[in-house]
């Protein structure tokens, strides 16, 4: 046997013997330390870790993320504080939310912006814009619009949409956020959620469901189910004027067209039966136009 071959065999034998047996516990501990630090620095790519990140938010997480998201919305737009308006919107919202399939503390507020829109945040926060409120003519319309948002929250529509559309990117982001201290983690997840809220279009079936079930919630509460339909019809009419387009840019970038929503709502009204209250005078009394 030549010297090089003998040397190779010797090295091979050394490698085959377990490390602790060769050098005792010192090397074993060193390897353990290296493995621990490698685990800490490892990017989140394992299936198990992704699966943990993909689990739905717990109710506590949902509340915390919703609260942080709501704070950012308030910082961005400000909220209307006129006591009569705040009280009235909360009473109508609470009346509709009683009919919701998911019981939780729903809170309603009016954002101080002219753009027309409404937003459903995790944890039961519903924001309607002043621009949307000014386009309404009666309480049934307000009830229908708030019902639409309550359905989004009750069914966790945006959260499930983000998970399905962003898949592993969402999972990695969630897992990374979970490794941060709690306040940073919540803030990061709230920022990501808000970004999706303003930029992601929900699937047509989720928006249709929110329109249909929102109208139904209002109807169960005693309002005419036509409220949301007539509100969307009014928005479609106002949107025809070129100078008003800026009002609807955000709404139309994340929702189906008005025409499509009108069709869905016409079917919902036909199915629910056109009965119930409009309450135009009470609305006019509470929301000065």
């Amino acid at each position: 046997m030549s010297a090089p071959v003998a040397a190779l065999l010797a090295v091979g034998l050394c490698c085959a013997v377990p490390a602790p047996a060769q050098f005792g516990g010192v090397l074993g501990r060193a390897r353990q330390k290296i493995e621990e630090s490698r685990q800490k620095a490892k990017p989140v790519t394992d299936r198990a870790e992704k699966a943990a990140a993909i689990r739905p938010w717990t109710e506590e997480e949902e509340q915390q993320i919703g609260q942080a998201t709501a704070a950012k919305m308030v910082a961005m737009f400000g909220v209307v504080q006129e006591p009569a308006v705040v009280r009235y919107v909360n009473l109508v919202g609470a009346t509709v939310a009683r009919q919701a399939p998911r019981k939780m503390p729903y809170r309603f507020a009016v954002l101080d912006t002219e753009i027309v829109g409404a937003f459903a945040l995790p944890g039961g926060y519903v924001f309607l814009t002043k621009g949307a409120l000014l386009q309404m003519e009666n309480e049934a319309q307000l009830a229908g619009a708030l019902g639409h948002e309550v359905v989004h929250i009750a069914e966790r529509h945006l959260e499930t949409e983000i998970r399905s559309k962003r898949g592993s990117a969402w999972a990695i982001q969630e897992a990374q956020a979970q490794q941060l201290p709690l306040d940073q983690s919540i803030r990061q997840r709230a920022d990501a959620f808000l970004n999706d809220l303003f930029n992601m279009r929900l699937s047509q079936d989720k928006e249709d469901a929110a329109d249909r079930e929102g109208a139904l919630l209002a109807s169960r509460a005693g309002y005419t189910p036509r409220g949301l339909l007539t509100f969307i019809e009014r928005l479609a009419q106002v949107n025809q004027s070129e100078e008003n387009k800026r009002l609807f840019g955000q709404l139309l970038s994340t929702h189906p067209s008005f025409e499509s929503r009108i069709q869905v709502l016409q079917q919902a009204v036909a199915a629910a039966g056109d009965r119930g209250e409009l309450l135009e005078a009470r609305f006019r009394g509470a929301v000065p136009h």
């Binding site: 609260q67 942080a68 709501a70 704070a71 950012k72 308030v74 910082a75 961005m76 737009f77 400000g78 909220v79 209307v80 504080q81 006129e82 308006v85 705040v86 009280r87 909360n90 009473l91 609470a94 009346t95 009683r98 503390p105 729903y106 809170r107 507020a109 009016v110 101080d112 912006t113 002219e114 753009i115 926060y125 002043k130 621009g131 409120l133 000014l134 309480e139 808000l194 970004n195 303003f198 169960r220 509460a221 005693g222 309002y223 100078e243 008003n244 387009k245 800026r246 009002l247 609807f248 840019g249 955000q250 139309l252 970038s253 209250e277 309450l279 009470r282 929301v287 000065p288 136009h289």
Partner: protein, 119 residues
Amino acid sequence: MTATLLNSKVVRVAVWICFALAALALGQQAGQQKKEAPPAQKSEPAPLFGGQLGIRSSAKTKESATLGFNGIDPSGRVDKAMMATTPGDKDRETVANLDKNRPSDAEVEEFIRQGGLKK
């Protein structure tokens, strides 16, 4: 004589180089000034609903509230600068106070009764 000629040539070349460098520097300065010039102020379109609703806001003066399109780009979408807003303690307090605006069951029932709605 030759030395004088050489010298004068060297001087001429040096003068030309100086001119060229000065021109280059002037050109760069002008370009920089152009870049640093403040952008023309964009005029905010007149509010469509401003002043129609006498609703007070928490975070804005009456004047800024009537503008209403702050942070909204011309297509009507929320712009990036607005998205980067960081909430402060006052905003968090406002959110915490939203719970106080929730009506009691008795108040909701009275509201339902007054409106002739369903319990």
